[in-house]
Symmetry: C2
Subunit: 210 residues, 2 copies
């Protein structure tokens, strides 16, 4: 009781939240390379440079470890994806080549955010335990899939209204653009992101251009 008065921080001077974060980071790393069932709490503790009881003093059990670690990562990925779409606020009077460039840039950023290592891992982990933790899978889906889709659809709607795209359902258009982006990665995981983005935008604009 005395220590919190003196420092004002959580409990032990400095390092309460940092240590919790270290544990969550370790948990994510271990879950990523072992999967849920194979990961043992012992190893997570080691990864975080901490003893097993310490882990349990921060998170209730293995399940919480998983939920917190994966959920936080999903949020990060979602944030990055939404941010990638944000610059797509086209000034109405720009030429068509600028639209093409802006779209390509956004597509490329989106691909880096949604196809990167962390994003891939999050999707795999969520899918792997979808039966056991369906609510977590739903939350990940919300962050990683639906939020970026909604953000992109918003931008496309504005572009359509500005006459930069042929009249269309922006939700449908967003689905198609995202599919054109992420689909090729399934078939060629090693493909150059910039090239994939360029091709996707080309096809998209041929179909949805004015």
């Amino acid at each position: 009781m005395g220590s919190e008065v003196s420092t004002g921080a959580g409990r032990t001077g400095r390092g309460r939240v940092e240590r919790r974060q270290a544990i969550l980071d370790g948990a994510f790393a271990v879950f990523a390379r072992r999967g849920y069932a194979q990961a043992c709490v012992q190893e997570i503790a080691g990864e975080a440079g901490v003893a097993k009881p310490t882990v349990y003093s921060h998170l209730a059990d293995k399940e919480s470890l998983y939920r917190e670690a994966v959920g936080a990562a999903a949020e990060r990925v979602g944030d990055r994806s939404v941010a990638a779409v944000e610059p797509l606020r086209a000034p109405a009077e720009a030429p068509d080549s600028a639209l093409h460039a802006a779209l390509t840039a956004a597509a490329h950023a989106l691909l880096l955010a949604g196809g990167g290592e962390e994003a891939r891992t999050v999707r795999r982990l969520a899918c792997a335990q979808a039966l056991q933790f369906p609510d977590l899978a739903a939350a990940v889906r919300e962050h990683v899939l639906l939020r970026p889709h909604a953000a992109l659809a918003d931008r496309l709607a504005r572009l359509t209204l500005a006459g930069r795209l042929r009249p269309c359902d922006p939700d449908r258009a967003a689905e198609h653009l995202l599919a054109l982006l992420t689909g090729p990665l399934e078939y060629r995981p090693q493909a150059d992101a910039r090239k994939v983005a360029g091709e996707a935008v080309d096809v998209f604009l041929r179909a949805y251009g004015p």
Copy 2:
């Protein structure tokens, strides 16, 4: 040794292979609803209407059960997908509307084969244990993803050569069409397959039509 002479069948008069198949079917069902770790061999035996030692008399261990069951299902899905593309051998002199119709039919069939319950389950199971059985994941990928892609690319190449599509890389075109098909299912799992297929082909032909 004596019995095979008399009946000519595997071992016990009738039912050796049928029983093995029943066990594999049971295994697939149980793995599908529990996941690998949660599934216990006892339940698989029950699902197949058989005792636990009988299971082990047909397959070596739980891992084999998983590999055989998932592998066989992946092969079925792959076969169905390839068959869906097969009718796309367009007579060269047909009108463009016939191309559109044929493409839509193939797309719809492809969607039913690759987006159906079994296909989804196979993908989930393979992805879930990808770390533990990477070779199985690769095999599933081969059957469920790469084989249909190659078959479709073949058809698109012939169509391109016949002047029915604008000159393009058929591999890339196949990726894009498949992406347009399966992508929307990620965002709207309940969507009408026929509608999704129609929209995908519309977009595809606007971008790749002659």
